[in-house]
Subunit: 477 residues, 2 copies
């Protein structure tokens, strides 16, 4: 995207055609570009910066928790995939294989769609006794899943970046506890960093991870009424351990099979930020994920531009701790710059004009609500962190309100269908049944999002009348 | 590697069989493991921690320099590789291809061995005018090169991790300047972080990067007399720009072809740390790349173990800013623990025994030279940073001495051959000649390492008698 084109702005309203709106924001805010290879994307610096904020936040947590980073090979032997039957079946359709070199011996190699199999082969060699447990390893890497569904930058691509944590425990209890602890941290990350409220729960059998004992998930609702899975944390049970021969001698020298977990978040989160907070002017960045939080735009008038630039630089210096930058490029009008930085979602704009220099003030504009205020120069340093904090909270509040208003409880299948049609997050008593879930998906396009945690009591399944928990359904990304 | 096996230590001396020694250190210090897939390695947490130190250091520099991180696809269309003829020829033998899905249209896809081609295809769309320059983008990623030579963890593997920077400039002058600036930073990284002295220079035509105008490099000499390329920074000239159609309008609205650079360092650096500093007891980590810098080992005697553990914890708390950890595991003897942490290269060991508790002192042991000293508890906090600093400097000094002593100037081909046989870094007046270089390689196994910078004057080529600069030759990793 050349800079000249940004001026044009987004050509459709978010409320009118969110799909086209999303494509335009992604391109014009220079977040991603389409690759010449179908289904692949180029993550541009403006988006990679968001990913770095997520990485920094979560990696610090991992280190506090004693999870250590490692790196396992990209290519996985075919036989590894086949060891755990459910896992093999789940990932088979999405695997990309490497062309075999005719001169080379050895198995056919697949490009990792996830690394359970290759990691657990190593784990079976590394783990001998209870002293080696818990084993907590994470890797930040790329994975490939040859999607046949329509792809969309960040939300569904054939290659994406993620972290995948893989832990091994002596007992189910310990594994359960940590699976949940990771999920809680993901929730915190979404809510505090990305300003996106999520609902935490478990996946139904139909939707759980291939090979898992159970899957916990955090789910958000996008403005178009589609649910987005933001992160998952699986208790893998002992199935992989048995398939890969991971055993340990306990304190009584008895051989035992350990429990395992795996968990991940991906660059998909960048897509959720764009969708949740963006508006008709483009991207809106929550301050906590904004690489640059404040832009200073000098309003130049020929005869006084020297003074104005001088003042703008002075302000930049004074505010340097807040990730401020100065747009002093020549040849672009102030209005053009306003549009550019609004498009790119910078949380705060500070305008410095000739009158402002005289009066020792600036004009401060918030990206989230467009509000302008005159701020005394002397108060800027105190005000900026407060406003950033307020923007962060305001974005979360707006998103939370949307989520709360769009969860609808339904009492029968007619209501269910209507609610899905109306793009709601549908809460329904449903006794988990894989066949019925498949039928619902076929007839309404909706899938089960999660069984929220902490439900008091049970109700009756609207289909079978059996005792059931509330399950959230929606069309999903 | 199970923990019990570490006790055994390294079975060969570094000076007797460095190749076997290296394999054992890599395995027993839990740095890497062989993958079931030939030529691939598993980077274990102890080694990945070194990579994280390198990443942190260099990424901060990149941000100061205004280089922004991004991520380009793993898979590159075949036609991209073919656009720049020299580059295509250079990488063709090492490319791995993805099996074509018969239902899918489009080109054959290769797994990136380096990303010039896919990045510059995007650059040709993103760059329009001088306002878009310089463009400075970096990515941290994995790359695949299907090596046919023998592989070795970190030093030569079919997959490795690296950073690749790719910049575009208006002028040759600017490009030259920044190519050198990056190389200088790589040198600083090697010397200050890894404690490895390097020689900076340019590559000869035979050894330059495929498609580059010229390549600058930093080279170190390993203890076995083989040169190791630690990092390269290329001026790519205008060849890629022409091949990929990257153009810009200058300030006079005239269309111009820009200049480009690319530069990278990789997980190979981990191998250089192992080789350079390791000894017969295992890994020796320079403090600046050690995730954990100090280990406290309590010497337990049954009747007093409570007091000792208490004291050890107290010391750990007091020294927390220095990345200290306490090995209070039961069921392992103190001697076993000493071996374990020596094997893993922890810079400082602090022993706390019953007598020490009484006398308010500890025994401090340096990993680099094995020296023991008694240190008063009250002086520990002041002494630790000084000792860490001294270890860092001492390791560099030792390596520098080795390098200096092993550079040999030769005056004719006989001396050259003898010096190479004696595992020296051979300095020779040589007028660059690709055919002659190929002959030397065939006859001696040596390749040109670099033409060192800042040479005063010229001499006469020992082969042709033509005016020539000094060039360093060695057998290379």
């Amino acid at each position: 995207m050349s800079k000249e084109k940004n001026k044009e702005g987004i050509s459709v309203k978010k409320s009118e055609d969110i799909s086209e709106w999303y494509s335009e924001v992604v391109q014009k805010a220079e977040l991603a570009d389409y690759s010449q290879v179908k289904g692949f994307m180029i993550i541009r610096p403006n988006a990679y910066g968001i990913w770095e904020k997520i990485q920094n936040y979560f990696d610090k947590y991992l280190k506090r928790k004693g999870v250590r980073n490692a790196y396992f090979p990209l290519l996985i032997p075919e036989s590894f995939f086949k060891k755990e039957a459910e896992h093999a079946k789940g990932f088979a359709p999405e695997l990309a294989w490497v062309e075999k070199n005719p001169n080379e011996e050895g198995e056919r190699l697949g490009i990792r769609p996830t690394s359970e199999t290759i990691m657990y082969d190593s784990y079976s060699k590394w783990i001998r006794s209870w002293r080696d447990l818990p084993l907590k390893i994470n890797q930040w890497c790329n994975v490939l899943r040859w999607e046949v569904k329509q792809t969309r930058p960040f939300l569904r691509t054939r290659e994406f970046l993620w972290q995948e944590g893989h832990c091994v425990y002596e007992t189910k209890k310990e594994c359960d506890k940590e699976v949940r602890e990771i999920l809680d941290e993901y929730k915190k990350l979404c809510e505090e960093l990305l300003a996106i409220p999520v609902i935490a729960g478990t996946k139904t059998k139909s939707e759980k991870f291939a090979g898992a004992f159970y899957t916990t998930t955090i789910e958000s609702l996008m403005p178009d009424g589609r649910a987005l899975q933001m992160g998952t944390s699986h208790n893998l049970g002992q199935g992989f351990a048995k398939a890969f021969g991971i055993k340990f001698r306990d304190k009584n020298e008895k051989e035992q099979t350990p429990w395992q977990s795996s968990w991940g978040i991906s660059t998909r989160l960048i897509g959720s930020v764009i969708l949740t907070h963006g508006d008709d002017k483009g991207l809106v960045l929550p301050p906590n994920v904004a690489e640059k939080k404040v832009v200073i735009v000098p309003i130049m008038f020929k005869e006084k531009s020297g003074n104005i630039i001088k003042k703008a630089r002075e302000i930049k210096k004074k505010l340097s701790e807040f990730d401020v930058f100065l747009d002093d490029r020549e040849g672009y009008s102030a209005g053009w710059k306003f549009n550019e930085w609004e498009m790119k979602g910078i949380p705060i704009r500070i305008e410095v004009g000739p009158k402002d220099v005289e009066k020792k003030q600036v004009i401060l504009v918030r990206r989230d609500n467009g509000k302008k205020e005159i701020v005394k120069e002397s108060e800027l340093k105190k005000k900026i962190p407060k406003i950033l904090d307020d923007i962060q909270k305001n974005l979360f509040k707006k998103a939370k309100k949307f989520l709360d208003e769009n969860i609808v409880e339904v009492k029968n299948y007619d209501e269910f269908k209507r609610a899905i049609k109306n793009r709601k997050f549908v809460s329904v008593y449903f006794s988990e049944d894989e066949k019925l879930e498949a039928k619902i998906k076929e007839e309404t396009g909706a899938t089960s999002s999660c069984v929220p945690f902490n439900q008091k009591g049970e109700g009756k399944c609207i289909f079978t009348g059996k005792p059931a928990k509330k399950i959230l359904f929606a069309r999903a990304y």
